[in-house]
């Protein structure tokens, strides 16, 4: 589904503290499969995730989405791709404080201009699917970590993306909640979504749900299972 070729990414380019976070990545992310990027912190997995997710552009190299080159597209088109095709689950969840769970979930739908009742019905469906229907009107800061993550998952799915991107999804969860997350992940995979995540949690990368594990170190791939 996504092909990366010769991806390099520099931070602070041209300055004294220039630093190459990614140094020549060639990778194919298969459609309808769960792929995990594994590696120690600083290995460049989050940076790679931002490039795949169109949150940032590579300094060198090409990103192809379903065969089309998207690395040179202007910001507006990248935003549109992000909105329509990708759903993000951030490590810190990144929910907007002060809004209810429901309001947070429908946020990515705002720029689409979809009728509100449609968005709400979809959000309701997702919330109930993750057994969170009773918390729909709670402000997100009053939710527990696990509930917050499920809200974040609902938000990632509101625009019905093909690719779900999750950054260290179990880092802020205990083993029990992490187990629940893996259950959710399995059902997402079962719906035929492509999933890309980063993790160094054995619970994730050694689970049966994950079909591909990519090991990274110092901005390079070292092993491809």
């Amino acid at each position: 589904m996504i092909e990366l070729s010769g991806i390099r990414k520099a931070f602070n380019q041209g300055r004294d503290n220039e630093y190459w976070a990614l140094d020549g990545i060639d990778l194919r992310i298969a459609a309808n499969q769960v792929t995990a990027l594994r590696g120690p912190s600083g290995s460049g997995k989050t940076t790679l995730l931002t490039i795949v997710g169109c949150l940032s552009r590579p300094t060198e190299g090409r990103v192809r989405l379903k065969g089309g080159d998207i690395s040179g597209l202007p910001e507006r088109f990248l935003t549109e791709i992000r909105r329509q095709r990708f759903g993000f689950i951030f490590q810190q969840f990144n929910l907007i404080k002060g809004l209810t769970a429901l309001d947070n979930i429908i946020l990515p739908g705002y720029p689409t201009g979809r009728p509100r009742h449609e968005l709400l019905a979809r959000a309701e469906e997702l919330l109930v699917g993750l057994k969170l229907g009773h918390r729909r009107d709670a402000k997100v800061e009053w939710l527990s970590g696990g509930e917050q993550q499920r809200v974040a998952i609902c938000r990632a799915l509101i625009n019905d993306p093909e690719l779900v991107i999750a950054d260290e999804p179990t880092a802020n969860l205990d083993s029990h909640l992490a187990g629940e997350f893996m259950g959710i992940l399995e059902s997402l995979a079962g719906q035929g979504r492509t999933i890309l995540l980063t993790s160094h949690d054995p619970l994730v990368v050694e689970s049966n749900v994950v079909q591909n594990v990519v090991d990274m170190r110092d901005g390079k791939l070292i092993q491809h299972r």
Binding site: N94, G109, Y110
Partner: protein, 378 residues
């Protein structure tokens, strides 16, 4: 179009929800903002209406009033003076006026005694202004005595009270016959207070004044245009004082609003990053902030202006009346006719709504063009 409207509704929803998060702070800001618009609008509406009132009422006053000066002081018009004016071309009518002031120790107020050129009351009768009706409890057919400057007591019968509608110009008038006036003030026979001239052609007024000064070097012509200008200046000056007093408040609010609107907190920056990451375009973020600025400033403007209008024209500007009109013992009661200057309202709108909307947008521009991947880091 429908899609566009739906999008704007979402953006407004979001901006309202984020305003609601700092409820106390934003409501406080809105209140201060509204109060400021209210005060500014009150002052401008009031002074403009008063200026208009003066200008409209005084267009009927004589084009030129001729005073005679003796040693730089206002003096009586001696007999034979009028005839000299008659020869000046352009003068349509000339009327010698008889009027003066009387200090009433009972009400501690000054009245204006005046002899009407036409339809003067009969001897021993007077017509009084509405303020006298109130302060001395006078009504038609009442008797009233005034002690003249020579010490004699004169008794008059009130023939009528001037209509309340004319109070703005007639509050303290006491109209009487020429005979009564001269007897009361011991006014020398053949002398007058001043002379009112009407000039048919407005372009001639200046020439008439020049010719008057040449023919009668001791005459001081007072032109109606000067009078109107004086009144405009009086109210401008009062408006200026009020605005000067407000300027500190305006400045303080300016700082507050700038601080609030332009200082983007780390929290807000993070939120913008999140919104961009989940698929909001830079334009959406800016539009959302634009709505925030518009909602606050439009609300403040509309509420402030409407409140000011009601305050000025339905509650007689009770808060600013003392400063803008001045006080007096015999104060006229009058209802200001609303004259609204569109340019003034537009100026007020421009200077209250736009700076705030702009102050909200400036920092957003910087924040909105930052990369969305910042939310993944840190």
């Amino acid at each position: 179009m429908k899609l566009w409207i739906e999008k704007q509704r979402y953006l407004i929803d979001f901006t309202l929800a984020s305003l609601a998060r700092r409820k106390a702070r934003n409501i406080g800001l809105l209140l201060v903002y509204t109060l400021l618009v209210f005060m500014l609008a009150s002052v401008t509406l009031y002074t403009h209406a008063l200026r208009q009132e003066a200008a409209r009422v005084l267009v009927a006053s004589p084009e030129v009033v001729v005073q005679r000066m003796v040693a730089g002081r206002h003096d009586l018009i001696p007999p034979g003076y009028m005839e000299k004016i008659g020869r000046i071309r352009g003068v349509q009518t000339r009327t010698a006026r008889l009027w003066g002031y009387y200090y009433d120790a009972v009400t501690k107020a000054n009245y204006t005694f005046m002899v009407p050129a036409e339809d003067a009351p009969a001897k021993g009768e007077i017509v009084v202004g509405p303020a006298l009706e109130r302060s001395r409890g006078l009504a038609a057919n009442n008797g009233i005595s005034f002690r003249s400057y020579s010490g004699k007591l004169h008794t008059f019968i009130v023939a009528a009270v001037l209509p309340q509608a004319t109070e703005l110009v007639s509050a303290d008038l006491v109209l009487m016959s020429e005979e009564s006036f001269r007897a009361f003030f011991d006014y020398p026979v053949g002398h007058y207070t001043d002379i009112a001239l009407t000039v048919a052609n407005p372009q001639e007024v200046k020439n008439v004044a020049l010719k008057l000064s040449a023919a009668l070097p001791d005459a001081r012509p007072i032109l109606r245009d000067e009078v109107l200008r004086t009144y405009a200046a009086i109210f401008d000056w009062r408006e200026g004082i009020v605005l000067a007093l407000f300027s500190a408040a305006i400045l303080a609010f300016g700082i507050l609003a700038w601080e609030k609107a332009s200082g983007l907190s780390a929290e807000e920056k993070r939120e913008i990053g999140i919104l961009k990451a989940i698929g909001w375009e830079t334009g959406d973020v800016i539009k959302m902030k634009f709505w925030e600025g518009m909602l606050i400033s439009l609300t403040a403007f509309l509420v402030g202006f409407v409140a000011a209008y009601v305050h000025v024209f339905h509650f007689a500007a009770s808060m600013f009346e003392p400063v803008l009109k001045g006080w007096a013992v015999l104060y006229p009661h009058f209802q200001l006719t609303p004259h609204i200057d569109g340019v003034q309202v537009a100026t007020l709108f421009f200077f209250t709504v736009f700076p705030y909307a702009a102050a909200v947008l400036v920092p957003i521009w910087k924040a909105a063009i930052t990369d969305p991947d910042s939310v993944m880091r840190g």
